[in-house]
Amino acid sequence: MKGSEKAKGSGVNRRQFIGNMLKTACGVGLMGMGLGMYSKQASSLPAMAIRPPGALPEEEFLGACIRCGMCVRDCPYGILKLGQLGSDDVVPGTPYFTARTGPCEMCVDIPCVPACPTNALDHGLTDINAARMGLAVLVDQETCIAFLGLRCEVCFNICPIRGDAISLNYRHNTRSGKHALFIPVVHSEACTGCGLCEKACILEEAAIKVFPTHLAKGELGRHYRLGWKEKQKAGEALVAPDAEHRYNLPEGVQYDLQGRGLIMDGTDSQQEPVSSNPLDVLNNNPLDTLNQGLENQ
């Protein structure tokens, strides 16, 4: 039926054909736009979902991960999950772990990475200490018991890069007046974001948490330069040296703080304006002193 109509090739049919074509194209085009826009909106990673080691930056990751789940299967600790529609806010099918319940154990051979067929987990990552899954942040100083003056240091001790990723900073305990606070401090240049510290935190709700790096880190303005570093790089100050300060002093008088203030030129200048002997001061007639000063000029 359709074939015979086409065979006739009348104008009406061509019109119908083009009309149908446009209808389909418009429908599909709108659908595509909807999908694209929704995906943009839905593709932000929630704060508690951490990508496996070697994961590309989130936007590139979503273009590279084909949602096969091979990393999930090859994780010996079974911590990785795939995002599920509607039950977590992770893009469906993409891998993540939750530090508080199942942190990355930082296997030396990183088996999840070579399992990835598309380099969404970068095969260039061979040293697990170089992984940057996220960044630990001591989010609550009001409940962290180290800040209350109690000895804990669990996060410091569990850290696989102990001493480098988390160090202890000693501070005076102003409450007791005689003790020290052992404050854990995270260093972003060493922290891999494995989440072992968050898992180990003894509080009901962890005071130290791992966040995706872009949520945890601030960022200086790109135009911003640190003067001392620029100076070091250039080997010299990059601004003109300060002009020497000039004082408006009478002739024959100088000012130099290292020489303890005003310096009178000439012989008299050796004499102190005021005698160091307190008796002289008491016996002197203040008027004489004033006149003496005038004579010296």
């Binding site: 599909v28 999908l35 995906s39 593709s43 590279a64 795939l82 599920q84 977590d88 067929p117 598309t118």
Partner: protein, 305 residues
């Protein structure tokens, strides 16, 4: 119409129940078998296959990747690894031989849903259907390939019911069952064969793989056809049957050449007269040497191959 017997009952009485359902049973075994292989690992700890339909590794030796998914990733700017490329070559070659849409009827988990929908639709006697062009799927396929180019992200895989269903069954479904329910209801109440036959871009992609596939359904004994219409009724892509079955007068060969035939074999099952068989696309040459029709191109290709 009212006296028309239940679909396929003639075949059952003519050939026996098993022969009248042979390919359907094999197909279900294939679908559940593949799913079972993937589930053996997580459920029983027997790791024969890891991964899912997007990419899998069998016995740490055989990689298989989905060409549609991988193509989207490549368009998003990915350079796949060796295993993924080997996997995609194997899959493409196999489907080019056995028919691209064999994926749809023998592997895809959504097929179970849409087949059930079709069954329910038939039982409820629903005849109305929204007209959605069967070519819509190719437009959608275009969109799925355009989106990663524009956004740099594999957008379609956020929504793809095919990969989501299979991944869901293997890794945890979440709310993906709602999408499957949506497809189920859509196929029953909105459009006959609406998802698989009109919209699904995955099927559209695989149909392109099968454009020149070797294994085809052949209406070998088409002169025996008694016009019971059961094959049209049961076929998920009924438009593919007519040229082969009724083309004898126009000099068209008996091979169903349309790449949208899913090789499901259901027409073979339900035909009481045993008109259809699986065969090769070259079967046209035997019965139709040098036919002077539009199929010339096909036979020319076959000669070259």
């Amino acid at each position: 119409m009212a006296t028309k017997p239940r679909l396929g009952s003639e075949a059952v009485s003519a050939k026996g129940w098993f022969k009248a359902n042979k390919w359907l049973i094999l197909r279900r075994l294939s679908q559940f078998g593949i799913l079972g292989l993937f589930l053996l690992g997580p459920l029983a700890g027997v790791w024969i296959v890891k991964g899912n339909l997007a990419y899998s590794m069998t016995l740490d030796f055989l990689p298989l990747s989905d060409p549609h998914v991988l193509l989207q990733a490549v368009l998003a700017g990915v350079q796949p690894h060796k295993e993924a490329i080997i996997g995609v070559i194997i899959v493409v070659v196999v489907y080019m031989l056995i028919g691209g849409r064999v994926f749809c009827s023998w592997v895809c988990p959504v097929n179970l849903v849409t087949d059930l929908a079709c069954c329910v639709r038939r039982m409820l006697g629903i005849r109305t259907s929204t007209q959605i062009s069967r070519s819509s799927r190719y437009w959608l396929l275009g969109v799925t390939l355009l989106l990663p180019l524009v956004t740099g992200s594999i957008v379609w895989e956020m929504f793809n019911p095919v990969s989501m269903a299979f991944r869901g069954l293997v890794f945890g479904l979440g709310m993906a069952w709602m999408i499957l329910l949506g497809i189920f209801l859509f196929d029953i109440f909105v459009s006959k064969e609406g998802w698989c036959g009109r919209l699904c871009p995955v099927g559209a992609f695989y149909s392109l793989l099968g454009l020149k596939s070797l294994v085809r359904v052949v209406a070998e004994d088409r002169e025996k056809c008694d016009d019971c219409m059961d094959c049209y009724e049961v076929c998920p892509e009924e438009q593919v049957i007519r040229p082969a079955l009724k083309g004898a007068g126009k000099g068209i060969g008996p091979v169903i050449l349309s790449s949208n035939c899913t090789n499901c074999g259901r027409c073979i099952d339900v035909c009481a007269e045993d008109v259809f068989h699986f065969g090769s696309r070259f079967a046209n040459q035997k019965t139709n040497p040098g036919s002077a029709t539009g199929k010339m191109k096909e036979s020319a290709f076959s000669d070259a191959a």
